[in-house]
């Protein structure tokens, strides 16, 4: 009986060790090649824009890639939207309409937020209208190709 208990304890430790080891390897790949993409790195300006996005809790109402709150629209591709884009955002951002708080962003801050949203736009699409929906239930995403991404320094 004691031997059996020892075996169980040993077995549990072996399984935990195997799982943790696999987890470390898995994380390594998630943090590296698994999340590589064509989009350029966020510039200093875009990172400042992301700081503003966080400090003002824009995510409570808006989403990026469908992640965030649902009170406002998703902004993943707002920059490249044919009827919206930078001027629309600049005009809207301090308006305080409906549930949106009345912000007082300076022109520099507006540019920083736009730089962040432009960087997000360059990473891909949401909704991903051109995804390939397969009969077996799998979805092949439509990735933004390197050619279709303009470098932020050109903007």
């Amino acid at each position: 009986m004691n031997f059996k208990k020892y075996e169980n304890k040993h077995r549990n430790r072996v399984i935990i060790s195997v799982l943790v080891f696999t987890f470390i390897i898995y994380n390594y790949f998630v943090y590296s090649s698994g999340t590589e993409n064509h989009a350029p790195k966020l510039t200093e300006e875009a990172i400042k824009g992301q700081d503003l996005w966080q400090e003002n809790n824009c995510w409570t109402c808006h989403q990026l890639y469908g992640l965030g709150g649902y009170l406002g629209p998703d902004l993943t591709n707002i920059i490249s939207h044919p009827n919206k884009g930078e001027n629309y955002i600049k005009g809207f951002i301090n308006s305080g309409v409906k549930s949106m708080p009345k912000y007082n962003f300076t022109e520099t801050e507006k540019d920083q937020i736009i730089a962040f949203l432009r960087a997000v736009d360059q990473t891909g699409y949401f909704p991903n209208y051109k995804a390939n929906l397969q009969p077996n239930g799998w979805v092949e995403l439509n990735y933004k190709s390197a050619d279709s991404i303009s470098h932020p320094s050109n903007k």
């Binding site: 208990k5 590589e36 790195k41």
Partner: protein
């Protein structure tokens, strides 16, 4: 009333954790209801408490409820039911006051607008340092309490231990964005952020599910519920989900496809695990034991129902083609509300009713009011859940099939859903109050007596 106060004087801090958790639950519900009003009346409290503050208040409060109730319950059962001597009551005290101060600082951070964090962790990012320290203290105290003192650990001891360890890792992971390596690559940053969220929910699930198995074993008075090959098989399956099953939140982010293959493969079998165990346990439980633990039992049965409902939803949204249409809609909210309220809260209330019945043997005198609260809570949650699913279907239809309809028009179309969502939320709050106020009174009285002892 018969209080076994002296018996519970060993670790009064467990009662403080529980009292604080109940306060957080009530507060979280209140903020949730107020946020619901803002969906219908956009100007409601806009100047005083805009949605950009209301939601972080709500998120932080309900997250605190889950974490504090689980922590308090674990401390309580270790010291008062298992009769183990907590390695360091002083560390428990430090842990409690640390979390209390952090809670106050989080509220100050949100209230004054000095935030800078991200979804679910909106507070000033520097606060993650003392939060991690609190978890490390908890882990150290836990392992020093049970290692070498308990032989042949039942599964719930493993679950609590791994829950604490993985909570520390994934809370830290949620802040990897401090490093430019993650931050400069938006796809990596967003993926890791949501990886950490999926996994730290998995980590607190280890704490909460461990409690549910513990209560089952105690109600049934059968230690085998937490031992043997089957509970451990399910435990390891749950742990595998915690580690590798998070990516259904990020199917749509343009990562490499293998991340989605792994997530799809592993899927969300965790729900099957607990559902199966509760089902097996219920079958073999005598009527007398059910009667003596009516509320703890009722809540575990309700958790079984919610596991079943959420299992169906979780499995569906783990299928990529369904996830494609449901992601970014209220269906995701239904999934998270269904699990945090339907499963986590229900199990934690079961745990608190179990503890309350041990503290006060006459607690079941309130049974009519408590059962009314129980039915109001669960009935309103069904309506609430249904309203979110219906809103999600409408939003998905707008996203993919009515692209030319302006966002504002789509929101007007959702108005009826929001009304149902708000009303059911208010009714749920009433049900929660009917359950938590009597619990709060029992724990407060026990705390006062134990503090004097």
């Amino acid at each position: 009333m018969m209080y076994k106060a002296a018996q519970f004087s060993k670790n009064k801090f467990s009662l403080q954790f529980i009292l604080l958790s109940l306060f957080a639950l009530i507060l979280g519900n209140l903020f949730g209801v107020l946020a619901g009003f803002q969906y219908i009346i956009p100007d409601f409290l806009k100047e005083l408490l805009p949605f950009t503050k209301m939601r972080p208040f709500h998120d932080s409060s309900v997250t605190s409820w889950i974490v504090l109730a689980a922590t308090g319950s674990i401390y309580f059962v270790l010291s008062n039911v298992e009769d183990l001597t907590i390695f360091s009551p002083k560390l428990t005290k430090i842990h409690f006051y640390l979390f209390l101060i952090i809670g106050i600082l989080i509220f100050i951070s949100i209230g004054t607008g000095y935030m800078g964090g991200r979804e679910y962790v909106a507070f000033m990012p520097i606060l993650i340092v003392p939060i991690l320290l609190g978890w490390i203290l908890f882990g150290y105290n836990y392992f020093k309490t049970v290692l070498n003192r308990v032989k042949n650990w039942p599964v719930y001891y493993w679950m609590w231990g791994t829950g604490i360890v993985f909570m520390i890792f994934h809370l830290a992971e949620a802040h990897f964005w401090f490093s430019p390596y993650f931050r400069e690559n938006f796809v990596r940053d967003l993926t890791v952020q949501w990886k950490s969220y999926g996994s730290f929910v998995g980590s607190w699930n280890q704490l909460v599910y461990g409690l549910s198995i513990y209560i089952m074993a105690k109600i049934k008075n059968d230690d085998s519920v937490g031992r043997g090959k089957l509970p451990f098989f399910f435990y390891f399956l749950g742990l595998t989900n915690l580690m590798f099953g998070w990516a259904h939140h990020t199917y749509i982010i343009p990562t490499q496809p293998w991340i989605r293959y792994v997530a799809y493969g592993i899927s969300m079998t965790e729900w099957i695990i607990l559902g199966y165990m509760i089902y097996s346990w219920k079958k073999s439980l005598s009527e007398e034991k059910k009667e003596n633990n009516t509320l703890a039992y009722q809540f575990l049965m309700a958790a079984d129902f919610w596991i079943f409902i959420n299992l169906i939803l979780a499995l569906l949204i783990s299928i990529p083609i369904i996830n494609f249409f449901s992601h970014g809609t209220h269906i995701t909210v239904a999934h998270s509300m269904g699990t945090t309220i339907g499963i986590n809260t229900t199990i934690l209330l079961s745990s608190l009713f179990y503890i309350a019945s041990r503290i006060d043997s006459n607690f079941k005198d309130n049974i009519k009011q408590l059962l009314t609260g129980f039915y109001i809570f669960n009935g309103s949650l069904i309506v609430f859940f249904g309203a979110l699913i219906a809103a999600g279907l409408k939003r998905s239809e707008w996203m993919y099939f009515s692209k030319n309809m302006p966002f504002a028009e789509m929101k007007i179309n959702l108005a009826n859903n929001y009304y149902v969502f708000l009303i059911s939320g208010i009714v749920m709050f009433i049900g929660i109050l009917m359950l938590t106020i009597p619990l709060f009174k029992v724990f407060l009285k026990a705390y006062k007596i134990s503090a004097k002892a």
